[in-house]
């Protein structure tokens, strides 16, 4: 049974949950994810494992309320148990000492980039992190990110905190400052990752993005998660979730994420759906 040990609202609609899952915690590496179901009639949704506590046998997930399943999940309390959790799934992030690595997280994507930054730092990288959100109140994990970064830069779309603008502007500034960057890791809404890949492309800085297509089994069985990378179809659940951002067809990813928009809306009976990315 996967009991919820702790639930904290990081902002109005972003939640951090600690879930008991000893076997997953024991094996999990940065970049991997789980697929969970809230109840028997629920959907299977993938969520990145943000942290694990191998001693306590727990994993941490962070998610934004964007659809029916995440709404249901947010409604579950400490002591409740999830119907199912399977993982760790996907390839771990390729971690080595690249030199200087820039870790960029947008919105709830900060939760995904955080373990990557931590692992990079541990391996000896100089880690520059750039995190961003629409506005200050919904910026998450600032302290955690600071603790694993040599330098932390913050941007908000509305200028309520840090740099007034997008994380891509901040990255551009870092590049323009003449700093040598060996690798970029970027996780966030699809449009953000697309723009970041365009920023680094002229400088040939390898840019790894973490993709979040719709998944069902997440074991390579169904093909729901297919993405196009370098003109080849890949299964994000088993070949990914991380790919070279310069090779990813982001338009396709966007369209495929919108596949169930109407149905999701109907089911939610609300205006929000996950169709706009993460």
């Amino acid at each position: 049974m996967n009991e919820i040990i702790n639930r904290v609202f990081l902002s109005e609609n972003v939640i951090r949950m600690v879930v008991s899952a000893p076997e997953i915690a024991a094996k999990r590496k940065a970049g991997q994810f789980v697929v969970l179901m809230t109840d028997e009639k629920g959907e299977r949704i993938p969520l990145t494992i943000v942290e694990d506590d191998k001693k306590k046998g727990t994993i941490t997930i962070i998610f934004q309320i964007v659809g029916k399943t995440t709404t249901d999940l947010a409604g579950m309390k400490e002591g409740d148990s999830l119907f199912s959790v399977v993982g760790p799934l996907g390839h771990p992030t390729e971690i080595e000492n690249f030199g200087t690595s820039v870790c960029i997280g947008g919105g709830v994507g900060i939760g995904v980039v955080y373990p990557i930054a931590a692992a990079l730092r541990e391996t000896g990288n100089e880690v520059i992190s750039i995190i961003g959100a629409r506005t200050k109140d919904i910026l998450i994990l600032e302290e955690e990110m600071r603790s694993v970064s040599d330098e932390l830069l913050v941007a908000t779309d509305d200028g309520s905190y840090g740099y007034h603008g997008f994380v891509s502007d901040v990255l551009k500034n870092v590049i323009d400052s003449g700093k040598t960057i060996d690798r970029v890791f970027a996780v966030g809404p699809v449009p953000m990752m697309r723009v970041l890949a365009e920023v680094t492309r002229p400088f040939h800085i390898k840019t790894i993005v973490s993709l979040n297509p719709i998944m069902v089994d997440a074991t390579g069985m169904c093909g729901a998660c297919r993405v196009s990378v370098g003109g080849e179809t890949k299964l994000a659940c088993v070949d990914g979730p991380e790919f070279d951002g310069h090779e990813v067809d982001f338009d396709l990813l966007m369209t495929r994420l919108r596949m169930y928009c109407d149905q999701e809306k109907a089911a939610m009976d609300a205006s929000r759906c996950r169709c706009n990315g993460r």
Binding site: K27, S84, V86, L89, V216, M221, T233, T255, R256, R258
Partner: protein, 468 residues
């Protein structure tokens, strides 16, 4: 002799079915099964041959004349138990086995007339036993203290687990999905194999004493070697051939284009056909193209009809004669209104402004020389392209081996196509203590062949453990 003549006069009993017009709108099972009278009458047709060909045609050697005799004697429970001596899943097999190519194909009655309806009788007694609730849990022989890990809970995994538990071993099944049953649960639709039946079989296995651990993808978290290190004395791999195959033609990633695996998994495992009661959505196309000619194609096409499609086209590159689907399934699909576009092959999908499929550009084919499979090879006719309007497509052209286990199990030999190599009669792989059977060895085959392979591997594992 008199008796034999009389018997031959009795016609093969047909089985009642839901009306095609009605059933194409619901997910209830299509055939309704025999009544007791029908079953007894059908059973009375059997000649009880001294050398029964039917048994030789059965991959798990069911004592067919034996169980049929018990039906004639109205001992339906006895008949069910007779089958269960060699086949632990009769309610499933009675429904999905291709009897026309197995026991019934060689039944002597078939030489002059219609063979005994062995499959329908098997189904009848299994259903009788289940609804009577009179399920026998056999005494387990002395515990051996040996532990076996079974990976995958499809027909192969369920069968070997049952056999090994009965031999006194401790068995744990690891299943990647959240529900046990393999293709029986996620692939074959409710209207052909009600999920209650699969659930009952899985429950029976648990009552026997097998442990089932779901949500565990072996090779991702634990590897096969981890299992051996944890103290399992042997491992059986029954992981199926679950990876999707696409044609790799332009436009195939448009929204609205599914692999059959995804389409059927959404509908069957996730119960998307009951959306929004269940949370998983599924596209409900008005004009649906289903590519392929096998059972999976028919299952997908008939599912699309039930999900409200106005036109469902099976698009197949050869003719009906070459279709690998069971004749009965093609017949059912036609009755329900599925349309067949034969000698037709998609070459490209066309999308609308939202990236949703709106057309399948196809090319006409003709049959040329026979290929390796002995079937005549389809050849495209130049400049014969045309577009079929579709707003949903299911690609059902087969599956391949999922590499997760081979890649994470050093020394496990696979063939060119990624299937695990075994010694035929035993399921032994290139690694000591690791056995395999079912679709992961043969490629997509049938439920009963997977079960047959599992039974052989059970005997081999038992031998191996005795000598270990």
């Amino acid at each position: 002799m008199e008796d034999k003549k009389k018997k031959i006069k009795i016609p093969r009993q047909s089985m009642r079915e839901q009306d095609p017009q009605v059933r194409s709108k619901n997910f209830d099972e299509v055939p309704l099964g025999y009544t007791e009278e029908e079953a007894i009458l059908e059973a009375s047709r059997c000649l009880h041959c001294k050398k029964p060909f039917c048994v030789a045609g059965c991959p798990v050697d069911i004592d067919i004349p034996g169980f049929i005799r018990l039906i004639s004697e109205k001992d339906f429970i006895g008949a069910a138990r007779k089958i269960k001596e060699t086949n632990s899943l009769p309610a499933v097999c009675g429904r999905v086995c291709p009897q026309e190519n197995q026991c019934e194909e060689v039944c002597v009655l078939g030489k002059k007339g219609d063979p005994v309806a062995i499959g329908r009788l098997e189904r009848f007694v299994a259903d009788y036993e289940r609804t009577a609730g009179d399920i026998l849990i056999p005494e387990i022989s002395l515990k051996t203290g040996k532990r076996i890990a079974v990976v995958g809970s499809g027909p192969a995994g369920l069968t070997i687990a049952g056999d090994l538990v009965k031999l006194g071993h401790d068995v744990t099944i690891f299943e990647g999905l959240h529900k046990a049953g393999g293709v029986l649960i996620y692939g074959i639709p409710e209207f052909r194999l009600p999920k209650d039946i699969v659930d009952a079989e899985v429950e029976y296995l648990e009552k026997l004493g097998a442990e089932i651990v779901t949500n565990t993808v072996v090779g991702r978290g634990k590897t096969v070697d981890d299992l051996l290190e944890e103290g399992y004395d042997a491992v059986f791999l029954g992981v199926g051939a679950g990876a999707p195959v696409f044609m790799n033609i332009p436009g195939e990633n448009l929204s609205g284009i599914y692999s059959a695996n995804e389409y059927l998994t959404r509908s069957n495992l996730m119960k998307a056909y009951r959306f929004p009661e269940y949370d998983t959505p599924i596209a409900r196309g008005k004009n649906v193209g289903v590519i392929g000619g096998g059972n999976v194609t028919m299952d997908s096409a008939r599912t699309a009809l039930r999900l409200g499609a106005e036109n469902v086209y099976v698009i197949y590159r050869r003719t009906e004669v070459e279709m690998p689907a069971r004749i009965e399934e093609v017949h059912h699909a036609k009755e329900e209104g599925v349309q067949f576009k034969l000698l037709t092959n998609p070459v490209e999908y066309i999308g609308d402004d939202n990236g949703w499929v709106k057309g399948a550009k196809c090319i006409r084919m003709e049959l040329g020389e026979p290929d390796d499979s002995g079937r005549r090879r389809p050849v495209p006719i130049k400049d014969s392209e045309f577009v079929i309007d579709v707003d949903m497509v299911v690609v059902a052209i087969g599956t391949m081996a999922n590499p997760v286990i081979p890649v994470t199990t050093p020394g496990l030999e696979t063939n060119r196509r990624g299937y695990i190599v075994t010694k035929d009669e035993t399921g032994e792989t290139s690694r000591e203590g690791i056995y395999a059977g079912g679709d992961i060895v043969t490629g997509s085959a049938t439920v009963i062949l997977a079960m047959g392979a599992a039974k052989k591997a059970a005997r081999a594992i038992d031998e191996y453990l005795k000598n270990k």
